[in-house]
């Protein structure tokens, strides 16, 4: 397997230091099952993203898509550090973080096609998903970092009730320019709340690069202004992201208060499906796609460490394709919401959200 890893070296950048990686895995007490699960999520995220983009370009997918490609190390790495009872306040770009947290793929697909079995029953679309009573995730809202203040509230509830739970919120680099980002870090530090602040720094906020968003060299440096630990992680390595997140989550869980994690990667695609992202220099994109691919890098490591072999990879790829296809079919079969329900479910007392949704239409 070591020979294989050397072959991969050209594609994945610096040769993974196998001994250091094994030590890291042991230190983090990650089991074989954990490692394969991380690999599965990285691969699923990539596959889902590519297939959905194809469907979008074919005109078969309504609404919008927000690609997370190239940033899988961030999304999977941070979410893997949470327990089921911890809450996650995600964004439109990190659906894979919600999938790690336990979303049902069929319902995710139904959401994209505006169907009644989607998490919002057709009231919202694309990755504006949440599953508070199941996977414990906040239903995504566009105005980042709009969920940061809400994460403060969930964390406050855990602290007041003496529950060993943690809230984690994610936003992008552009959202750190917004007042709420600073308000929330400040509030969490003042009250020492069990919260982990994650910034997915993918170098561009839509078309605006880091240097126009903020004057500091590193977003993580801003943690000092709020007396909390801040760490900048290269998100091409999912284990490094996981390690930073795990440490922050456990610090919060044990009463040590909030932390800030800046995960650096590149957004390989545009802000949304319509954006060709010509503002990203081609050489830079090539460099990231060739040498800083979080999925390929982790796959090479797993092969080199013997955690999986080629046939195992093929089986995993097949499983992912099957799950996607089944999810797609499920979404097409799921009925559209009944038009007469348009005003229901605004208030809690009409029972709309208590029962099963009204099913009407033939599912298109």
């Amino acid at each position: 397997m070591a020979t294989k890893a050397k072959e991969e070296q050209v594609q994945v950048g610096p040769h993974p230091d196998l001994r250091a990686s094994r030590e890291q895995i042991d230190r983090l007490e990650l089991t074989e099952k954990d490692l394969l699960e991380i690999l599965y999520h990285l691969k699923f995220c990539r596959y889902f993203d590519e297939r959905m983009e194809t469907l979008y370009r074919q005109g078969k997918l309504p609404g919008a898509i927000y690609s997370g490609r190239g940033q899988e190390g961030t999304h999977v790495g941070v979410a893997f550090a949470l327990l089921q009872e911890d809450s996650l306040f995600p964004t439109h770009r990190d659906l894979s973080a919600q999938l790690v947290k336990g979303l049902n793929l069929n319902r995710v697909m139904a959401q994209y096609w505006g169907r009644i079995d989607g998490y919002t029953r057709g009231r919202d679309g694309n990755s504006h998903i949440g599953d508070w009573f199941g996977a414990k995730t906040f239903t995504v809202i566009s105005h980042l970092p709009i969920a940061y203040p809400v994460a403060c509230g969930a964390a406050l509830a855990y602290k007041r009730r003496h529950e060993a739970k943690v809230a984690m919120a994610i936003c992008g680099d552009g959202a750190t320019s917004n007042g709420r980002w600073h308000e929330s870090l400040n509030m969490s530090a003042v009250f020492k709340l069990p919260v982990v602040w994650v910034v997915n720094n993918n170098l561009w906020a839509y078309s605006t690069p880091n240097q126009i968003e903020f004057p500091v060299g590193s977003i993580a440096d801003r943690a000092g202004a709020y007396s909390m630990p801040g760490i900048r992680v290269d998100a091409q390595d999912v284990l490094d992201v996981y390690e930073a997140a795990h440490e922050a989550v456990e610090r919060a869980r044990s009463g040590g208060g909030p932390s800030l994690i800046e995960c650096v990667s590149l957004r390989w695609r545009g802000h949304a499906g319509h954006d060709p992202a010509k503002y990203v220099p081609k050489e830079m994109l090539d460099e990231y796609m060739t040498f800083k691919d979080p999925e390929k890098r982790f796959l090479a490591l797993m092969l080199a460490l013997g955690e999986i072999d080629e046939s195992g990879v093929r089986a995993m790829d097949e499983r992912i394709k099957t799950e996607f296809d089944e999810g797609y079919e499920y979404a097409q079969r799921s009925p559209l919401p009944a038009p007469e329900d348009v005003t229901r479910g605004l208030w809690t007392d009409d029972g709309y959200w208590e029962g099963s949704p009204t099913r009407e239409g033939d599912g298109g």
């Binding site: 809450s87 998490y119 919002t120 009231r123 919202d124 504006h128 949440g130 508070w132 009573f133 906040f138 239903t139 809202i141 105005h143 709009i146 969920a147 940061y148 203040p149 809400v150 994460a151 403060c152 509230g153 969930a154 964390a155 406050l156 509830a157 855990y158 007041r160 809230a167 007042g179 709420r180 308000e183 929330s184 400040n186 509030m187 003042v190 479910g345 605004l346 208030w347 809690t348 007392d349 709309y352 959200w353």
Partner: protein, 365 residues
């Protein structure tokens, strides 16, 4: 209608700290319940009634807690929560940084986790500083997710106290226009107490606007039953009449009643409908009164164009056109900011004489 007693002081300064008659006699400010601040005859001001509602609900339910600016040790800018921190402690009477968006978001996040927060805005004007979390998160969340948000946002609204542009506004139209928020604007101590208790027990988000001009202006006998609740979304006829329906809410109800008294002496019988809740609107009560009088006027303190009365007028025109003998009249401030100088502010807010004139013309139409 309840008896009311108008305080002698013409203006109610937020910092004047005007004390209720028995405040010194009681142990106010030392963890004593607000009921101890009632008069010897047992009457409560609007402010004391609000404090009683908060206190009783905090005693009843551990999940209820308060957060806001200067509400703890200081007891709030208007002293609504004076004595609360001594009784309930800093965790349930939480002084926060000056960060309105995050105060709203924190309340919402705690509500998602099953707590029942009551967030205080020092002035309702500052709700615009928390607007996105109120409108974009709070109002839309249940419709999109089915997750209840039992949270109340309180704030002193309204003018007439010479507090000028940034401490006198009536933001209720913003929130009534936003789906998913209930909006309450009480005029009397009893309604203020019963509606706030109902709001805290409601599983939906509520914007509760208490009019600062009324805080210490009127007193009445207010129920002491800890389960006394006033239904949200129900108007109340505060004065029966036959000739003209006058719909109002908040401080304008008091002006309407004074005008109705004068008009009665001139032989015009005015029915005063107090909305109490501006959203959801009690259209049934409005139309029932118009059916009786055939003439309708709407008196409101939010700006005239696109204000609450614009919606009330539209409902009457749309669903009660056949009931009307005359065009609907709207009495409201012009669409300019709330000015400071007494001559300007009095010209801005509808006064009793303006109401009397307008209703007289309407009755003769």
């Amino acid at each position: 209608m309840v008896e009311r007693q108008v305080a002698a002081k013409p203006e109610d300064s937020p910092t004047a700290g005007e004390k209720a008659p028995t405040e010194e006699a009681g142990a106010a400010g030392h963890g004593a319940e607000p009921r101890g601040k009632r008069t010897e005859s047992g009457e409560a001001t609007y402010l004391i009634a609000i404090a009683e509602a908060l206190w009783e609900e905090m005693e009843r339910d551990d999940r209820v807690f308060l957060l806001g600016e200067d509400i703890g040790v200081y007891g709030g800018a208007f002293k609504v929560t004076e004595g609360f921190i001594e009784r309930f402690g800093p965790e349930r009477v939480m002084d926060t940084p000056i960060a309105e968006e995050t105060i709203v978001g924190t309340a919402v996040g705690a509500a998602m986790e099953g707590m029942r927060p009551v967030a205080e805005f020092q002035y309702a004007d500052f709700m615009t500083s928390g607007f996105d979390e109120l409108v974009t998160v709070t109002g839309k969340y249940h419709y999109r997710s089915g997750v209840p948000l039992p949270v109340v946002f309180r704030g002193p609204s309204g003018g007439g106290v010479r507090a000028s542009n940034f401490h006198s506004n009536n933001p209720e139209p913003f929130f009534a226009h936003t789906p998913g928020l209930k909006v309450i604007c009480p005029a009397f101590p009893t309604d203020a107490k019963g509606l706030l208790k109902a709001a805290i027990r409601d599983d939906n988000p509520v914007v509760y606007l208490e009019h600062k001009w009324i805080y210490r202006r009127i007193r009445e006998q207010v129920p002491t039953d800890p389960d006394f609740l006033t239904p949200i979304g129900k108007a109340d006829v505060k004065r029966d009449g036959d000739d003209v329906t006058l719909v109002a809410y908040g401080a304008m109800v008091l002006k309407a009643l004074d005008a109705a008294q004068e008009l009665e002496e001139a032989g015009i019988s005015v029915e005063v409908v107090d909305l109490r809740t501006v959203w959801p609107l009690d259209t049934e009560a409005i139309l029932a009164s118009v059916a009786k009088t055939s003439r309708a006027a709407v008196l409101y303190e939010s700006h005239k164009a696109f204000g609450i009365g614009a919606e009330v007028s539209a409902i009457i025109a749309e669903d009660g056109f056949d009931l009307l003998d005359a065009p609907i009249v709207r009495l409201a401030p012009p669409n300019v900011p709330v000015p400071f100088s007494p001559t300007l502010e009095d010209a801005y807010i509808p006064q009793v004489e303006n109401i009397v004139d307008a209703i007289t013309r309407l009755a003769k139409w």
